[in-house]
């Protein structure tokens, strides 16, 4: 199954990071106390710096693209102060407190 991970600016809609366009690895885990942590490694430094300047207004997405089923979209509500970057490891960490899962096919296109 294909998967797209995307970070966008929540106000202007500007796409900042997209695994189909930029080279990085990512991992999503559930946090024991609730919420989620997405760890993105190797994203371009310039883009990461831009993300950090907009960190209070981010949309974090994960799109699942099953081969024989409609697309499933996951949107994550990014925590306040939930964005951190370890430059020496090129590791961007985005923590979210909740998620909305939706199928665009269930709405008017």
């Amino acid at each position: 199954m294909k998967e797209t991970v995307m970070v966008k600016h929540a106000v202007t809609g500007l796409e900042l990071l997209n695994n189909n366009k930029h080279s990085f690895t990512y991992e999503l885990i559930d946090l024991p106390a609730g919420g989620f942590r997405m760890t993105l490694v190797g994203a371009p430094e310039e883009i990461v710096q831009h993300i950090l300047t907009l960190q209070n207004e981010l949309n974090l997405f994960r799109f699942e693209l099953p081969e024989d089923a409609p697309q499933i979209k996951h949107w994550y509500y990014v925590k306040e102060h939930g964005v951190q970057y370890q430059a020496d490891q090129q590791q961007l960490v985005i923590e979210a407190s909740s998620e909305i899962v939706y199928l665009p096919s269930e709405y008017l296109e």
């Binding site: 106000v11 509500y77 306040e80 909305i100 008017l108 296109e109």
Partner: protein, 233 residues
């Protein structure tokens, strides 16, 4: 201080099904020197073709106000709200911790023109909510009619921000005054017609003015005018 933004200086676009103008940075229009006016972050003037619209997409931590000028706007969201509004109707969505919604022109014959304004809320993490309200268009004549405010009221949408949005219609030569606190901001946008602010600044159709540190505002209709005034922190 009055800073006039002529209509022609807005960022305008035509995608066929959607034509519009952005007064602040939005979508492909990115200007770091034009991202907000106080809590006002987005002011879009959109025309949606019949039966077309925006598919499901999320928002968070924004107060989103849609003012329908022509046609019909259909809203649907993951909270279970479905509403269709026409002229005289206002939709307000508090995105808070997250809402997924769609917006479509509900008519398959006529276009829909709406103003969509996004305001920063007074706090992050609000519970998502939606409401639609309506006002009597005849009540716009000769006065500033509040249609969105924090306290709400009859025929007003409530909003989680210390602000009030007014609409007004004036006949040619008619005058109206607004007294503002020196620490607050005022935004005026002409929907139709033209007016003069404080006998000095002429605003024509779709022109706007951002006003700071001015306490006495006087709007004089140069011709029949329909305009919007927002009192902002």
């Amino acid at each position: 201080m009055f800073t006039v933004y002529p209509s022609a200086e807005r960022f305008s676009f035509d995608r066929g099904w959607l034509q519009g103008s952005h007064s602040f940075s939005f979508s492909e229009y990115q200007d770091p020197n034009n991202v907000s006016f106080g809590p006002l972050r987005v002011f879009n003037d959109d025309v949606i073709a019949p039966s077309r619209g925006f598919g499901a997409h999320p928002h968070s931590d924004m107060e989103i106000v849609s003012i329908i000028l022509e046609g019909q706007l259909r809203h649907e969201d993951n909270l279970g709200n479905v509403a269709v509004s026409s002229f005289g109707g206002v939709q307000r969505m508090s995105a808070g911790t997250g809402v997924v919604h769609t917006e479509h022109n509900a008519s398959d014959e006529t276009h829909c023109n709406l103003l969509q304004l996004w305001f920063e809320p007074e706090a992050r993490g609000l519970k998502p909510s939606y409401m639609s309200s309506s006002y009597n268009p005849a009540s716009l004549n000769g006065q500033l009619l509040p249609i969105v405010s924090r306290q709400g009221g009859e025929n007003q949408a409530t909003i989680h921000q210390d602000m009030t949005l007014y609409l007004s219609r004036l006949e040619k030569g008619q005058e109206i005054k607004f007294v503002q606190h020196p620490d607050r901001r005022t935004y005026v946008f002409v929907i139709q017609g033209s007016l003069t602010m404080n006998q000095e600044h002429l605003l024509s159709k779709r022109d706007a003015v951002r006003i700071e540190q001015e306490t006495h505002l006087q709007m004089t209709a140069e011709e029949p005018v329909f305009f919007l005034l927002i009192d902002l922190p």
